[in-house]
Symmetry: C3
């Protein structure tokens, strides 16, 4: 882990230094645990008291928050403080080092092509005709099936599965036990069946899943292959854990799918779409570029670009905020209306 | 991949051909990507414009939609168009071929019984006393633990786990990283514990999970073993990805459990029950044959056969539709009632 | 499986025997399937008819329910009946026995330390510098990565992953395909990127996940490592299947996280917190000791100790019960208010 002077660090993360440039730091740490050799990061007022007691050598902040940093610490003022923090953390971060090449205990089919700089660890599997690119790491239990392709500089953590013929781009990270290319949920209810009564007849899932460059797929997330053609995760999109992406879905670039959300079949998401945690989107919809969906919402109609919705079924977020505030008043409202009705009856009776 | 004449295809998928019977096709394709050598499928008006521009040699449709197919394409008119499409797709589909037998790099315990026609690929595992039936495929990383049994013609994709003593029928498909027979969530809160204060005391999950014939289990779906006896997934039921089936649950035959839904312990589902995506069902309930639950709903009471419910807590679907339409009007309603109350007050004041 | 006399059994499970002490039983069974050699358990009135027809030799019950046990069966009356049942079941339960030591087909790095009494089965993996404690079992496909530590008496089922440097205590059970230490979902949106337009810049997830003693982690559950420092699952906490625990989360001891719930980043749960199924909790919150959250709820604010909430967004449970009962009446309420408004109009018109 390198030691850097604050002036050098400021230059490399694109921040303006206010403080002693010669001071050296050796890593990033949280506000609560940082020591003088650490750089910390502040952005959320929830952590103001931690900031005030912080012992870090320097704190990365926005211009607005700069004055809140305690006197003892240098300020690293950045236009995009979280980006600056990400860069600082990456500078000090030592990636897990693994032995390169096909290691003993790995299984690579004779017809597979694995780049000599790739690492295939014990218990990893590369099937017939599959290809693995330069500098890519397959941890123990990662599996790339028949004729699938994984690009360069990827990391496949244990249990990550890329099923047959699927395509994974460059710099893709597959967290443990995620699945690329499982069969979509496609069944045709057949009243006649095959002579043993009705059945759900399987529709072959003959397509593939394509994961473009710079995508990250979370642990236990499932991306189904298409019925025909391709399920696509666009360039630079990041997917959290336990997310469901059904067959024929297309997700545009730079989108964010937060944990436990699910997208039903054939729905298309534009660029920069954000689905918060536990969101559900029904099938055959189009969500425009930059559409945003609040946590636990259920989307049942197309969304315009930039639209922000919440609730189940989802409505414009602003309306949902008013609705959420109003909802707990419903029982009281029912009582009020009952009383009001009585008063009106009274007035009606009197008038006669 | 075989080439078939349209007249032969029509016969094999149970459709009526309207068009040139001698024309030959070699596969299925989506409306948007089909070429003259392809058969496409149309059923959803969302895709009407794709249909109109479609270059397919033939389109599978219902009688009602037959007239919408463009002039250049033959019509394959079917009573169950999606079933006919499933059959057509299956005719042209080439299943992934794998080497038969226990392959190098597979691990089969000496006391296990694996049928000679089964395929156990490198990195697959069959534990002591376990049995694997004829023509079943265990992909790399599929695991059948101690004394578990898997029937004939099954496919266990990478990472699929069948825990000890569990039973899997014939023609079952286990998608990657699904789990059959994990321990149920059974703990007894013990105020006394074992001398170190209170504890959640584990209730042994001594039962098994039984997956009947023709079931499909989605990727990362979890089917817990029973506390005592059996958790059962009935014949022909299809389960999507990331579904939770708790201990002692019984799911009847031909049911559909869509992605990310969850069924709590000891609940029983009848035949042909449909749980849409992200549905939750609490424990110890009975859902009658053909009950249907809308997406994201929460079921907290028994359902009659054929009942259709939505919402959380779930109410009859028709009521839920009205409720959903009414909900966004609540904030305005509160204002109306306030004004109405003022007007009534005014009237009351005047009358005095 | 041992045979025990009822008097011996009563002593070992802390119950008071009412019945023939010399009668011998050999196992536990459900009310419906119990034979005279079995002990059954009753607590839920849903199963009263099963109790009445029960053929068990003895039934574990509370004092209040003791009179409901049919005449033929002995009563084992306990202050904590479910605890007594858990103890009885454990007495008769035979844990799966596996061969000890590093088995053929297992992969243990030369620099790893595996206790000689541990069992590492074929297809399990222990990476460089990792440590595995006494009597711990790693089933086929369990993986303990570089420099991770797993304590004594643990069971890691197939596909369970403990990523690099993470810490797992003693007596921990990791169900199949769960993940400890996946990367948190940390990205800084960088408008400038690296010369190819905007990007989500990965924030290194440099921390670890720590799973304390006596924790159980459900199948396909994901516990992300911290961005910095530790994600912590406190002693004795039990986590069900398909649960998401995001980076930097801290869960106190003896909490229960039911299936498919999710906790967003940096949120802290106290001791004995209960999240029911499919609950979502947003980030940076504090949930006090003993807080309880009803199924499918969404928690968007801090909770006091002992607070019980439901709904999305969550409100006090009592209010939510009233709200849930009131909700279906909203469409009718809107009609009522419309009519009332007309009546008031009428009155206003008349008064002129």
């Amino acid at each position: 882990m390198p030691h850097l002077s604050l002036s050098e660090l400021a230059g490399r993360i694109g921040a303006e230094l206010r403080g002693e440039g010669a001071r050296r730091v050796s890593g990033v740490a949280s506000l609560a645990s940082a020591a003088p050799e650490h750089v910390a990061f502040y952005a959320n007022t929830r952590y103001l008291s931690e900031l005030q007691r912080c012992a870090a050598g320097a704190v990365i902040v926005s211009e607005e928050d700069a004055s809140r940093v305690p006197v003892g610490a240098a300020r690293l003022v950045a236009a995009q403080p979280y980006v600056a923090f990400a860069k600082a953390s990456a500078l000090f971060h030592r990636e897990l080092e693994v032995a390169r090449g096909v290691q003993p205990g790995a299984w690579v089919d004779a017809s597979a092509e694995v780049h000599p700089t790739a690492a295939v660890l014990a218990g990893a599997y590369v099937g017939p005709g599959a290809r693995v690119g330069a500098r890519t790491t397959l941890h123990s239990g990662a599996r790339v099936l028949h004729f699938a392709q994984v690009g360069q500089d990827c990391i496949l953590w244990p249990g990550a599965v890329v099923r047959e013929r699927c395509l994974v781009g460059d710099r893709v990270i597959l967290q443990p036990n995620c699945v690329v290319g499982s069969d979509g949920f496609g069944f045709a209810f057949d009243l006649e069946g095959e002579g043993h009564g009705p059945m759900h007849r399987k529709v072959p899932q003959a397509g593939i899943a394509r994961v473009e460059d710079d995508v990250e797929v979370g642990a236990c997330t499932c991306i189904d292959r298409a019925t025909l053609g391709e399920t696509i995760i666009g360039r630079g999109t990041k997917i959290d854990n336990l997310v469901q992406v059904a067959h024929n879905v297309r997700v545009g670039s730079l989108s964010l799918l937060v944990a436990q959300c699910g997208i039903s079949g054939s729905t298309e998401l534009g660029q920069g779409v954000v689905l918060a945690g536990q969101v559900g989107v029904i099938g055959h919809l189009k969500l425009g570029d930059g559409a945003r969906v609040g946590a636990q919402s259920g989307v049942a109609r197309d969304l315009d670009g930039g639209e922000t919705v919440s609730g189940s079924p989802a409505i414009p977020h602003r309306d949902w905020l008013r609705l959420s505030a109003a909802l707990p008043r419903l029982p009281e409202l029912i009582r009020q209306v009952r009383k009001l009705s009585q008063r009106v009856e009274e007035l009606e009776r009197e008038r006669k």
